[in-house]
Structure formats: structure tokens, C-alpha cells
């Protein structure tokens, strides 16, 4: 596929992904939001395809977006590319300061919510406790932002445009967070101390182009349980 002629590749959008990856889901949400047609190509975690390895030789990870035969990796970089290439339904705000704030919060979510959650999923004991503590502290900040920005009229961080960049970046929590909690054996979600965040999650889940894409929790739990056992098994055998 990668060796097709330039003419073949013109206009083609391909997304390399894993069904269970929240990073891949983000990119799908961005594409769907804009009504961009794409070919989704499921990858294998342990048997990475030549296409994946040549398209993302640095990180060897999904998602990878291939547009006109050109590969782009890293979900946040891909999202900005999508926003700049297909101008309908903007994901990022127009105003430079608002854009900076959206990027700031996206980075915060990645560093303080997404990464600790993943680390907590794949660790145990003291290591895990440390990550869960970080995660809980970050969720307080997220709740604070939700309290400040959202209300009955403004359901999403994208403001009057509806769903936006920050919503899509944070969106994995509406489905995967419960999975991570169940598999990892810890609790971070708390409707009592995170009322605005829970409202946001409920609203996000119902967005028409988001709802059909959400994988059933049981399926995710089964898969991530296997992933966790594999990782802990490896660590134990070191």
C-alpha cells in the first residue's frame, strides 16, 4: 500500500490503529467530527506491520495517520494536522490565546492524567499508589477547570462550538477510566467530589458521533487485564 504511486495516494486518508487504544480513538473522533472519510487499518500489538514500522520508525506506535502517502504520528500532532488540513468544524479555537490555553490543557491532561493512569494500570504496590495519588490530584484540577468553564448552556470545553480539542483529548476518560480502575484495582472517579466532570463525561458519551465508537467496558476490561498481567509478569521475571 505504501508503495502505490503518488496518484493512487492522492486524497487518501488511512489510519493505523488498535481497537482498544484511546489515542487512536481521539484521531477517529477528530476525523468523524470533520466528516473526513478514512480507511481504518487494524494493527497487531505484538506483530507490528511493515507499514506501521516504516511510517513511525521512531516510536513504532499507533495512531499513525497517512494522508496522500505521508505519515504523521502522535495523536496531538495528528489532531492539529487534521484541523489545519480540513477547515470545516474547527477543533481548536481561532483566537491565539484560546488556542494556547487549549494546547496547555491538552498537555496537562497527557502528562498528569493519561500517563499516570496508564502507569497505574500497569503497576502495583508502592509504584501504583504513587501514580494513583498523582492521578487523584490531577482530577481535582480537571474538576476545577470543569467548574470554571462548563454550565447548563456550555456543556463542553470547546465552548459555543460544542466539542473541541480539549474535549477530544480528555474524552478517553469517559470510557477507559472505569476500565483502568477495575483492572488496576483502584478508585479515582468520585461523582461526589467531581460533579462537573461527571456531567461532562455523561454529555460526551452521548455526542452523536462519539457514542457509536465507544467500546463496551467488558471488552476493554478483558483486554487490559491481559495487558496488565503480561506487563506484571515481565517485571516479576526480571
Amino acid at each position: 500500500m505504501a508503495s502505490g504511486s503518488v496518484a493512487d495516494q492522492e486524497g487518501k486518508v488511512m489510519l493505523l490503529g488498535f481497537w482498544f487504544s484511546p489515542f487512536v480513538k481521539r484521531v477517529e473522533w477528530a476525523l468523524k467530527f470533520k466528516g473526513v472519510e478514512y480507511d481504518y487499518v487494524e494493527q497487531e500489538l505484538t506483530n507490528k506491520s511493515t507499514l506501521l514500522l516504516t511510517s513511525n520508525p521512531i516510536h513504532k506506535k499507533v495512531p499513525v495517520l497517512i494522508h496522500n502517502g505521508n505519515p504523521i504520528a502522535e495523536s496531538l500532532v495528528i489532531m492539529e494536522y487534521i484541523d489545519e488540513t480540513w477547515k470545516q468544524n474547527p477543533i481548536l479555537p481561532q483566537d491565539p490565546y484560546e488556542r494556547a490555553m487549549a494546547r496547555f490543557w491538552a498537555n496537562f491532561i497527557e502528562q498528569k492524567v493519561t500517563e499516570p493512569a496508564r502507569d497505574a494500570l500497569l503497576s502495583q504496590g508502592e509504584q501504583q499508589e504513587k501514580k494513583v495519588k498523582e492521578l487523584k490530584e490531577a482530577m481535582e484540577v480537571v474538576e476545577g477547570e470543569a467548574k470554571a468553564k462548563l454550565n447548563d448552556k456550555t456543556l463542553f470545553f470547546g465552548g459555543e462550538n460544542g466539542v473541541g480539542y480539549v474535549d477530544i483529548v480528555l474524552g478517553w476518560t469517559c470510557n477507559w477510566m472505569e476500565t483502568v480502575e477495575e483492572v488496576g484495582g483502584f478508585k479515582v472517579l468520585d461523582p461526589e467530589s467531581q460533579p462537573q466532570f461527571h456531567k461532562w463525561m455523561a454529555n460526551f458519551r452521548e455526542v452523536p458521533f462519539i457514542k457509536p465508537t465507544l467500546e463496551p467496558t467488558e471488552k476493554l476490561v478483558e483486554y487490559f487485564r491481559m495487558l496488565r498481567q503480561a506487563r506484571l509478569g515481565l517485571v516479576a521475571n526480571k
Binding site: E74, E80, Y81, T85, A100, N107
Partner: protein
């Protein structure tokens, strides 16, 4: 409209220097506020309450934190002398490699500089692989940005300055002319740019500063 631009930074912070370079490239007048990172000012803590770090750009009273985000803000606010490329794909590549430097290269290189002897060989090998990947991005160009400095060159100040300093402090060779002729050539051109010359702290000063910063670590080796 009168523009008020302030930069909270620190002389030894290359992240802070990135912003100085960008503002100067755009000809933006700004006030520099030197922070004592052991004793952060109330203003800094107010403007970057989440991370409490430099650099923070204050534009007409509105704060922006995180150096790569500030660079994009600067490029979108002052439109002369663009820093990022025009083409969306080129922009995506510039962003990808800037993130790569901050999120992967620096950490892997720190491992290579600081590893125990038995692990060091492998760590150095890995760091060299990453450096080679970055070097390949230069291709036939003068700078990552093409004929002139761009976003990725500014981001790569880490390569131009931090590596040399760390090599001297930790006595570990990583970025050598022999192994990375093209990247080292870029370093030479980068540090020779008049604006960069103005903004780059002197190597001896950085080495001294880093030695003090890492004194406990160095003592334990």
C-alpha cells in the same frame, strides 16, 4: 494598541532562552524578569499555578506557559518572520520532532550521561540512535527551518547547548563530529546566528551551574 510583553525566565534555562530567541526574531519588545528558581516570585506562581515553572510569557496581562506552546502563540500573534512552516504537513513534522526532543531525546540522553558503567553502553547506543534520527531530519537543509531558523531549530537549542554542557560535566561523549557531522555542522551554524549569540548563555557559565546543580549526583558516582 500598546503591547505589554513580559517574559519570566531564568538565565540557565534553555526553555526560557527559546522564547527570547523567538521574540527577538519577531522584533518584539519585551521585559525580561529573571526568576530565582529556589525562591520563585509570587507573580510567577500566580501566572503558572499549575506547573510553577519558567518560562511564562505575559502578553497584555494574559499568561501563557510551556515553551513550545508559547512559541506557537508568538508565531500566531506576531505574523512577521514566521517561525513555523506554512504547509500543514511540514508543520506536523516540526511539531513531531520538537516533542521528540523534549519528551524522548533529552530523557534518553540523560540516561546515557548518568547511567552506571554496566548500563551505560546500551544507553549511549540508544541515545545515538535517537540523535541520528534527528540528524536525518536536517537532510540537505541549512537549518531545520530551511534557509533560516525556524521552530524546530529553536526547540533544538537543547541539542546545541545542553549536550555540550553535559558532555563536559559528566565526561561522556555523545554528540561528536565524527558520529554526527551534519548535526554538529548545524550546531555551529545555529550558535553563530546573531540572535542566538545574543541569547545563548556562555558554555563555561552553564558548565559551572550544572556542576553545582548535579553536585550530589556527581559526588555519589
Amino acid at each position: 494598541m500598546a503591547q505589554e510583553v513580559k517574559l519570566f525566565g531564568m538565565w540557565a534555562s534553555l526553555y526560557s532562552r527559546r522564547i527570547e530567541i523567538a521574540l527577538k526574531m519577531k522584533g518584539v519588545q519585551f521585559e525580561f524578569i529573571e526568576e530565582d528558581l529556589q525562591n520563585k516570585s509570587p507573580l510567577l506562581l500566580k501566572h503558572n499555578s499549575i506547573h510553577k515553572k519558567v518560562p511564562v510569557l505575559l502578553h497584555n496581562g494574559m499568561p501563557i506557559a510551556e515553551s513550545l506552546i508559547i512559541l506557537e502563540y508568538i508565531d500566531e500573534t506576531w505574523l512577521d518572520n514566521p517561525i513555523l512552516p506554512r504547509d500543514p504537513y511540514d508543520r506536523a513534522m516540526a511539531r513531531f520532532w520538537a516533542r521528540f526532543i523534549d519528551e524522548k531525546l533529552i530523557w534518553i540522553s540523560w540516561d546515557a550521561f548518568s547511567s552506571k558503567e554496566e548500563d551505560q553502553g546500551k544507553a549511549i547506543e540508544e541515545a545515538c540512535k535517537q540523535l541520528k534520527a534527528l540528524e536525518n531530519e536536517l537532510k540537505e537543509k541549512e537549518f531545520f527551518g530551511g534557509d533560516t531558523l525556524g521552530y524546530l531549530d529553536i526547540a533544538a537549542i537543547m541539542v546545541a547547548s545542553w549536550f555540550g554542557v553535559m558532555q563536559e560535566v559528566m565526561k561522556v561523549e555523545l554528540l561528536t563530529e565524527e558520529n554526527f557531522p551534519i548535526l554538529c555542522q548545524w550546531v555551529g551554524k545555529f550558535v553563530d546566528c546573531p540572535i542566538v549569540k545574543e541569547c545563548l548563555p556562555r558554555k563555561e557559565k552553564m558548565v559551572e551551574f550544572t556542576r553545582v546543580l548535579l553536585k550530589d549526583f556527581l559526588a555519589s558516582k
